[in-house]
């Protein structure tokens, strides 16, 4: 037999599958048994099948600083990550609470700013945030929803407690991999999937379309919805096209749209056709060269005016970047208490703000022990992991933080949980995180699970696809796993 797990090192981390050396957690037992009976050759065959499937389907992403054929496959690890129902139920409640508070926060910030008046969040934090859009003060977005699609990154600490690492409230990506990964698992491990009762993820696109239709201008019942992409060379183009296809809507580039007298049209073979809702996968800065970056060739001149006139709705709304600023992140638990009078269900990772005097001196004294992050960066760019950095790198970040404190935060290094992944011909513990996708429309819906990203380099804590990360299928089990096994039938 394959003998996959006999040399597995649990290590000094929370392991998703093993409670201790050789001790399999209950929800992983069927998987363990399945691997126990599997030959190496069978596993290799499955791996080859999965890899060739993603290649022909073109499940790729683009790496920017690489001129050698820019498309790459996002590596997929065949060992699923399994989360029991009661664990997920807590996460789900925490995420609903968090997105509710974030949307209330955005409404407040762009209207009366009570939270600043009451001193819960320092004024400068908001005023100085790069993604705050004062030009949208007192502007009402449809149904008062700002963040329609949110990708919140969760990690687990040494005790296995779920913590929020960051909220991606602008254009989060990765959901197409969640759906594709499940397809791959259905083809490669059909019987194992059948033994578990795993919650389906395929209806995400339908839920997303419901949200987009819900925010149509004037409550229009049959709105024309489009997805706006920066184009085929964008790293997430596969996802844009995947989502447009599964929602049955047009995918448009800026040059396909034209704004005229406060309305937006697309150029079709039959002339110009009005557009009502735009699921835009372009950041604010590039949306409209008349309002934001003048040099943007990706956007549509006049789009923002049409949006202000209430003739076209955008998802996400303009100005949500203030909510995923990493300094504002620090205040989300306070927002939850302030707007909802509830205790936060999911905790943050403790954060030092370089703008706070005591925090700054702590940061400067402890750089080699901390993770330093630029407040507006994502994708693993613009960050320093102290314990893994050279002296020179630490020095360079010390200078940067000193020069521009508003631009940096610091966090202790969280020893992310690990899950087994097949690397270098054996199963090895690799650090993982989880990005669930949260949709806010008529109600809040969360995809059961989300994208489990895995750092495939031994010891690495960076899970981003742009930095050598891969992904796993994430299985959220139905409450009371009542799958009927063979043994149940014989008794």
């Amino acid at each position: 037999m394959g003998d996959f797990f006999s040399d597995y090192q649990v290590g000094d981390f929370f392991d998703e599958m093993f409670a201790g050396p050789g001790v399999v957690r209950p929800h992983y037992r069927k998987l363990f048994a399945r691997f126990k009976e599997m030959e190496r050759e069978e596993f290799e065959r499955k791996r080859a099948h999965a890899a060739s499937a993603s290649l022909t389907q073109g499940v790729t992403f683009t790496v920017y600083d690489d001129d050698q054929g820019t498309e790459r496959i996002f590596p997929f690890d065949l060992v699923p990550r399994i989360i029991p129902a009661e664990e997920w139920e807590l996460v789900e409640r925490g995420l609903v609470q968090r997105i509710t508070a974030l949307n209330l926060f955005l409404y407040d910030i762009y209207h009366t700013q009570n939270i600043l008046r009451d001193g819960v969040i320092p004024k400068q934090i908001v005023w100085e945030a790069a993604h705050f859009r004062p030009e949208f003060m007192h502007f009402d977005v449809p149904r008062n929803i700002y963040i329609h699609i949110c990708g919140t990154d969760l990690i687990r600490d040494k005790e296995g407690t779920y913590l929020v690492l960051e909220d991606n409230a602008r254009c989060p990506s990765g959901v197409s991999y969640v759906i594709e990964n499940r397809q791959t698992m259905k083809r490669t491990f059909p019987s194992l999937l059948g033994q578990y009762r795993v919650r389906a993820v395929e209806d995400y696109s339908q839920e997303l379309l419901n949200v987009l239709r819900y925010i149509a201008p004037g409550g229009k019942t049959e709105p024309t919805v489009v997805l706006l992409t920066p184009g085929v060379y964008n790293s997430a183009y596969f996802e844009h096209s995947f989502l447009a296809r599964s929602m049955g809507i047009e995918i448009v580039e800026g040059r396909d749209l034209v704004a005229q007298e406060g309305r937006v049209f697309m150029r079709t073979t039959m002339g110009l056709k009005p557009v009502d809702v735009i699921y835009r996968r372009i950041n604010d800065d590039f949306l409209d060269p008349q309002v934001f970056r003048k040099d943007s060739g990706l956007g549509v001149p006049g789009l923002v005016e049409a949006c202000r006139d209430g003739n076209v709705s955008l998802a996400n709304s303009i100005g949500t970047g203030i909510a995923d600023d990493k300094a504002v992140y620090h205040f989300v638990p306070k927002m939850i208490r302030y707007y909802l009078s509830e205790d936060p269900i999911l905790a943050n990772v403790s954060t030092y703000l370089a703008t706070v005097k005591e925090d700054l001196s702590y940061i400067l004294d402890h750089i080699p022990e901390l993770v330093i992050k630029a407040v507006n960066e994502s994708g693993g760019y613009g960050m320093l992991i102290g314990p893994q950095a050279t002296k020179a790198e630490c020095e360079s970040f010390r200078e940067r933080v000193k020069r521009n404190p508003r631009n940096y935060i610091a966090q202790p290094v969280v020893p992310l949980s690990r899950a087994p992944a097949f690397c270098d011909d054996s199963m090895q513990g690799r650090h993982v995180d989880l990005r669930p996708f949260i949709l806010s429309g008529e109600k809040v819906t969360i995809i059961p699970g989300g994208l489990t990203r895995v750092a495939l380099q031994a010891g690495s804590l960076v899970v981003n696809s742009s930095q050598g990360g891969g992904s796993k299928d994430t299985w959220i089990l139905e409450a009371e796993d009542g799958a009927i096994g063979f043994s149940d039938l014989t008794t």
């Binding site: 085929v232 396909d256 110009l272």
Partner: protein, 327 residues
């Protein structure tokens, strides 16, 4: 449908058809060389000249290869990345166009085009093209046929499908005219008679390039005669690779898109295609030979270019704000 998408679907389809046709021409020519035991003592370059001439690429070809033999020609038409019309380049462009429209075509279509692209880029494909080019060409042709079958079986036969058809049919009509024209470039070896053995074999290869030999035999019993071959591939109403069939279908597809009746034209491109269609419907092979076969084919090629241009003008050029559609 978005104008940009219509344009991309059209080009995707054209490039796949072009790749297939390159494979056809080169594959048949390979066989032709085996049939003719070099009776005139012509050098390797001369034997392959007609292919390069038909592609109108003589100078570009000689600039790339020091030793312009059969291997060089096969490399030029199949794998040469610098040649924008090589099978490799055509499939790369087809796939690039498919990628920008991949939510419009079915996922089965996208997977097939991607598979074909990955194949032509792979080392085994390169090896196959060198060691067994005929096999390589057959795989390309089969890959294109599979794509067309998948397209018809999995995509709604609506506007997008019609743009795909237009791309394919325009390219096919153009290519069939070029295949026929290749014969014009082949000089009969000295001492051979028109209608002699070598001449017949050459005309048969024209038919074979269009997969038309068997259909031709069913229609005309007896010898393969030049005017009959030309008549068949230009004017046959129902053979799917004849020029007339392609233009008829192309005209019908244009009318389906605009919704206008085939007896009238609703825009410039329909006027152009309708005119070419009726010319082909009523022309006789006698008229064509009187006019000059080569000249006639050249004229067809020019008019196909006008149609392609007209289609772009009618449907794909950026709509100006004036023609604001009513809601």
């Amino acid at each position: 449908m978005l104008s940009r998408v219509a344009d991309s679907l059209y080009w995707m389809s054209r490039y796949i058809e072009r790749a297939e046709n390159n494979a056809r021409i080169a594959g048949v020519h390979l066989q032709l060389l085996l049939d003719l035991t070099n009776p005139s003592g012509a050098g390797p370059q001369q034997q392959w000249d007609p292919i390069i001439s038909s592609l109108e690429e003589n100078e570009f070809f000689s600039s790339l290869y020091d030793n312009p033999d059969g291997k060089a020609v096969i490399d030029f038409v199949s794998l040469q990345e610098k040649n924008p019309n090589s099978i490799h380049s055509c499939l790369t462009l087809a796939r690039e166009n498919a990628r920008t429209t991949s939510e419009q075509i079915s996922s089965e279509m996208w997977e097939q085009i991607n598979r074909l692209y990955l194949f032509v880029k792979s080392d085994p494909a390169k090896k196959l093209a060198r060691t067994s080019p005929y096999e390589f060409f057959k795989l390309i042709i089969a890959g294109s046929h599979l794509f067309q079958g998948i397209t018809d079986a999995t995509m709604t036969h609506g506007e997008g499908w019609d743009f795909i058809r237009i791309g394919k049919l325009l390219e096919r009509a153009d290519c069939t005219s070029r295949i026929l024209d290749v014969k014009y470039h082949i000089l009969l070896p000295s001492g051979e008679k028109v209608g002699g053995n070598v001449d017949t074999i050459q005309w048969m290869s024209v038919l074979r390039s269009c997969s038309a030999l068997e259909a031709y035999r069913k229609l005309y019993v007896g010898q393969v005669a030049p005017w009959k071959v030309a008549e068949f591939v230009i004017t046959h109403a129902d053979f799917p690779r004849s020029i007339r069939f392609s233009v008829d279908s192309l005209d019908a597809a244009l009318h389906r898109i605009s919704g206008s009746s085939e007896t009238h034209y609703a825009n410039e491109v329909e006027r152009l295609s309708g005119r070419l269609r009726s010319d082909l419907d009523y022309v006789t092979i006698g008229d064509i030979f009187k006019f000059g076969l080569h000249e006639y084919l050249e004229q067809i090629q020019e008019r196909l270019v006008e149609i392609a241009h007209g289609m772009h003008e009618s449907y794909c050029a950026n709509n100006e704000v004036e023609n604001l559609a009513t809601e």
